[in-house]
């Protein structure tokens, strides 16, 4: 099951590398290895069998999802600390596999975002917008150095379209003015659109292989689409289109890979759809009126809290009951 998740993430990973360079590989390497080691250590300390619990690949998936959510130029200790937070704090302190109420990768992301906002926003400029492309060597100062040479910064770092949009809207610019900038090409911005499409492809694979059911992704995407459509109709000048919302940031990754984490999601079918819709709505609310450009992580964690309530009120009709 987890193998299918990993497989379904590969188009996304490849597109990330293609669009944003090799930074994401560093994140994956550090996150996954730290997560697996942390998992093994915690299992050892808690006196649990190590092999079956490592073998289920849940730590690998957690590490990978966190890595994909992190900015591509984050210094090395960001993925390292993040993976430890995810596995130790969000997973094992709550009882390990199956007992954590909050999505571990998203808890780590939120903690990092709140604690190290500056390091959490250094994304690479999409490769197509860097005249000479970026090489391994260009990345190293960001990942391992403390302060990169000032000349390089402008060449390859950039804010994400969501971030840029938020900043510029704050400066009273209209959406169409903002989106005329180069990073906003296509529906949702250069690079981001391809990455979102790749995740969508992987998500569809998971649906076909019945690893996930359609309820949660459909809920997230329709929730996000519906609320952004309403505001787009009434305030087209200051709100981006619903499609921009669906294909930017972590919407696709969140809808298919993060919100669908079975441990922290609702379990009834009706409940799963409601759970998804709530995440979609909250994501929009945070993106639009919150302090952070991207809201998936916070939305997932907050809606995780409502899961027992959702499950309690949405039981299926049992055979022979009215």
């Amino acid at each position: 099951m987890m193998l299918w998740v990993l497989l379904a993430l590969t188009p996304g990973i490849i597109t990330m590398i293609w669009q944003f360079g090799f930074g994401v590989l560093f994140n994956i390497l550090i996150c996954v290895s730290t997560a697996v080691v942390a998992e093994a250590l915690m299992l050892y300390i808690r006196g649990r069998p190590i092999v079956p619990f490592i073998g289920d690949l849940s730590a690998v998936v957690t590490g990978l999802l966190l890595a994909l959510a992190l900015p591509t130029l984050a210094p090395w200790w960001i993925p390292f600390v993040g993976a430890i937070i995810a596995i130790v704090l969000a997973k094992h302190l709550y009882g390990g596999l199956g007992y954590n109420p909050f999505n571990p990768a998203m808890v780590a992301f939120a903690v990092l975002m709140v604690s190290f906002p500056k390091s959490m926003t250094v994304w690479t400029l999409p490769q197509s917008l860097i005249p000479s492309g970026s090489s391994f060597a260009d990345l190293l100062p960001y990942i391992f150095g403390s302060s990169p040479a000032s000349g390089v910064v402008d060449a390859i770092t950039a804010a994400t379209p969501l971030d840029e949009l938020k900043t510029q809207l704050g400066l009273n610019k209209t959406v169409s003015e903002i989106q005329s900038s180069a990073i906003f090409s296509g529906i949702s911005g250069t690079g981001w659109q391809s990455v979102s499409l790749a995740y969508l492809l992987g998500g569809i694979l998971l649906l076909f292989k019945k690893v996930i059911s359609w309820h949660i992704p459909a809920g997230v995407l329709s929730g996000l689409f519906a609320i952004s459509l309403v505001f787009y109709i009434f305030e087209p000048g200051s709100t981006p289109s619903p499609l921009f919302h669906l294909f930017s940031g972590g919407a696709m990754l969140g809808a298919f890979f993060i919100a669908t984490d079975p441990v922290t999601a609702a379990t009834t079918l009706k409940g799963r759809f409601i759970y998804g819709v709530l995440i979609g709505l909250l994501t929009y609310i945070i993106r639009t009126w919150g302090g952070y450009p991207e809201g998936i992580a916070f939305a997932v964690i907050l809606i995780n809290m409502t899961v027992p309530l959702i499950d309690y009120y949405t039981p299926p009709r049992v055979y022979g009951h009215k």
């Binding site: 099951m1 199956g98 009834t268």
Partner: protein
Amino acid sequence: MKLWRFNGGLPSLAEHKNESVNLPIEVATVPHQLIYPLRQHIGNAAASLVNVGDSVLRGQKIADAQGLISAPIHAGSSGTVTSIADHLIPHPSGFSAPSITIETDGLDNEIVPTPCTNFRELSISALVDIIREAGIVGLGGAAFPTAIKLDNQSRSRHIETLILNGAECEPYISCDDRLLKERADRVIEGVEILLHMLGAKQAILAIEDNVPDTFTAIQTAVENNHNSAITGVQIPTIYPTGGEKQLIKTLTGKEVPSGCIPADIGIVSINVGTVHAIQQAVIEGKPLTSRIITVTGEGVTKPHNLEVRIGTPIQHLITFCDGYTKHAERLIMGGPMMGFALLNDEIPVVKATNCILVASQHEAITSKQAMPCIRCGLCASACPATLLPQQLYWHSQSEQLEKAEKLNLFDCIECGCCDVVCPSHIPLVQHFRYAKSALKVQKHEKHLSDIARERFESRETRLARDKAERAERSRKKKAALKSKPAKEEIDAAITRSKQKKQSNEIGEN
């Protein structure tokens, strides 16, 4: 015919019918010993009618029903009763229970049965009596006394539809299939008897669509019979479609309300093997002393279906099937989904035994190491009762049994679909069985403590009342003593007695 779909189930469960289904039913030899547990049906154990040393004939009643829900037991062959004592019975916990053991004499003499030429001349009560006296119980596995189903449960209700359950959904088992292939005429005659008894408008004989040649056999038998009320229907092969509630849903779209019986919605459902037994009892006059069972699995040399005397030790059947193979690992009574492991092969075949599965290592559903529940919900999508197994598991594991009960734990039919689909290999049904029995014990204890409390409280009130009454009486007495008129009365009495004394003295003087 329009069909409905119940929730979940396992459409692609490996069937394993080919091992046993291709050979015709063979009549097994009579063993040296026949063992009859006195309780081999739902309800009260039967009471022995014989003593050690008695000789018995085939078809002779050796134990009689006790109470309303019970069934008599008949000897399967002629011989001598050698013991009436505890013997290992087929039970998941390996219990022993009172059983009658008969040493057979090899002559197989029987009580000559009295056949019936026209069952329509018999009254319904007479037919019910025949079925009751023949010791017939549900042969599909539940072993509920059939006479109760046809009499007490059905005659007070209006029965529209009779469902004949030939949907043998458990893997490996093919005894009903072979029965329908070879003796469809008898089964259809049995259906006619039941239609006559119940006054139902229609009878539906349902089998799974993975046995088309059986369906042809049924169709031919139905055509020969010229009874338009009987229809044969093929239903999709989805485990557990042979479960009574699932079959009723599939065929009629109706659901048996929780806590009710099918008769409450105008339906009676009977296994085809039981129908065959009814036909034998009514038409041939033969009580239930034998049945068809499947002996199969990689652990047995020649898997096939046998007609065996009830009471035959499993050992004898294995020998009849040319013995164990070197793969034999576990002995299971019933199928791999709902059957249970047996302690040894001295255990006898009982009325409810439809299959002996001699499983090899990989056939026995081996218990892999259970991992924590990740709430993936696959169990809920597979549950044919539309329960939430993951929530039931959560609550039963944490001993919050009332919560599990509130989530309708008792609607679980223990089919095992959730076990099969669980990616964490959690033995969910075992947890549910445990929770159910723990709840039953709790309720029983609560009932007892309620009675005790009531008794205690009524004693307390009685004592308090007595005390109050006593206090009231003594208060009245005291008050009477204190009050003046009483004193005067006493004085008057004293004066009276003095006067009397005086007058007496005068008289004497």
